[in-house]
Symmetry: C2
Subunit: 337 residues, 2 copies
Amino acid sequence: MTKKVTIYDLAELLKVSPATVSRSLNDHPSISEDTKKRILSAANKHGYRTNKFAANLRRQKSNTIGVIVPRLNSYFMSTVLAGIEQVANKVGYNLIISQSLESEKKEKINAKTLLNSGVDALLVSLAYETTDYEHFKKYTSRKIPLLFFDRVFDLPNCPTIVIDNRAAGYEATEHLIEQGCQNILHISGNLNRKVYKNRFKGYKAALGSNGIKFTMDNLLETDLDPKKVDDALDYIKKSKKKIDGIFVSSDNFAANLIKELKKSGFAIPEDLKVIGFNNDPVSEIISPNLTTIDYPGFKMGVLAGESIIAHLNGNINLQSTNSIVLRHELIVRESTS
Amino acid sequence: MTKKVTIYDLAELLKVSPATVSRSLNDHPSISEDTKKRILSAANKHGYRTNKFAANLRRQKSNTIGVIVPRLNSYFMSTVLAGIEQVANKVGYNLIISQSLESEKKEKINAKTLLNSGVDALLVSLAYETTDYEHFKKYTSRKIPLLFFDRVFDLPNCPTIVIDNRAAGYEATEHLIEQGCQNILHISGNLNRKVYKNRFKGYKAALGSNGIKFTMDNLLETDLDPKKVDDALDYIKKSKKKIDGIFVSSDNFAANLIKELKKSGFAIPEDLKVIGFNNDPVSEIISPNLTTIDYPGFKMGVLAGESIIAHLNGNINLQSTNSIVLRHELIVRESTS
DNA sequence: ATGAAAGCGCTAACAA
DNA sequence: TTGTTAGCGCTTTCAT
């Protein structure tokens, strides 16, 4: 029954012009309150829905924001997304979300699709693999706001939202040292990504300032997929010098690792202290509770959303803000004390 | 530099009509391979991007699928979404995702927004609160395919994707009984939602078939937010008859509950056996590992996506399939044996 | 305060 | 196989 009703129908019905209807619907100032009311109520009554394609075609904007993330189903990412969605929705923006599954190729395809879909802006957290950034040039050259969060890359005029991963890595490592660890293993994600690179840098720096020499043996680079926990376990068992502390770049991996370590007879924190990263809920479920770095995902999402929307609204304040650094926090729990 | 280039520009450039360009771009059969190639390469060279608004306006379809979920950031939901995204992306559909945050009001707003955004189809998992379904009528009356998953409601011609929650609840409960439990508490989500209602029914049925009388004391209805774990703990402690088994409708809640129970001196599974629901990764992190019902979220997402796309393509096979029931599985771990 | 009219860029029916 | 043409529904400039 609900046939599609257009502004022309409404116009005819009320003996006004389509322009007047359009203006009323958009609350244009130069329309008398009276006619506005008449039109609005008629629109309501007849179930008028604005056709966004037509409107978008006309004004060349879509009121949608594209998002590309490595994967949807991680605690951290879904929390960030929840934050983005919340602010976007509040101001009437839709979110088109796609996942790269850590593949550069898929990231490129997604970027292209979203461009074609006419997103007004793009929020990106990079795939592990990505080393080429051509696919984003199309955005910058068209002045489509582009913002990176978490897994970022510095492109001219593209704000980034991160935490100070180097400082966080430093604090995590120093905490282990303070707890008496002397031979600390760092289990890192892909070092091409600055997040992990910087945590690693912080780790090395902390060793340095405490007079501990770093050797490559003390670095284990993995994709942090819990399936790889066994490899890590082997690595730890086979280590020549006894490892007494581990700084893992992911709580999820750390929790799974602790589980296996315990099975293998390691006492935590007595034999071995472990610190994770993210403050994922598992960190409070695992026994012993995991010391970690709190990484404010929801807040990051909110900020990413707010920042890009401010950008879209031409709000210069945030536009000039080229990098937002969120505060992280060391959370000490049982696994290190 | 990249000005917008339209099919008209291309047409002029190659001395053909816009129609030919359009057809080539869409790989229309009645265009010679030769001109197709010429046009495609010219399009590439000049950085042509199709304007989806115009195309959508013309064809009255958007190639996007709307999704409304209670929240993005739960393990289960983000897994389902990952599944949906994977299939949608594969066949060139975009996903617009929004969250109701368990609020009926927000769900209604989202449904309206997505309708206005011209989604070709809508996938929904209902909010706790929702008891009125008027907002979906607009979809059905316009023949926009609508599919419910997980938290479903039976609307005419709307497929649903679920698991057999009653059977799962039955199995979970029977497992506890087999392990010797006699006084089993069920911690349920909002019983207005069929998922929880049916698990509860299964629970009651299992008690019945095993000659155990159900009393309302044995049901605790909550929103399954881990923050409410303390209430549950109190409830258990204050229970007159000693509770020796708990069937919780959520692994996450169960894991947090176990943690608190242990703190309060309960031995699990000796004093108290616990079974969860979902097979969330936490179930293998918590100690003791949590017995649970495996709920195939990713598969559910894939199926939801495939089903709705088949629908959109006019594939009758799936269209007639009004309800898909996925297989669940009891996974026995330490918390019950 | 309101109307007339010109497109936004694309697709598809109809013609050739 | 290719071209002509008429919109899709909306916004917005220019008139009135």
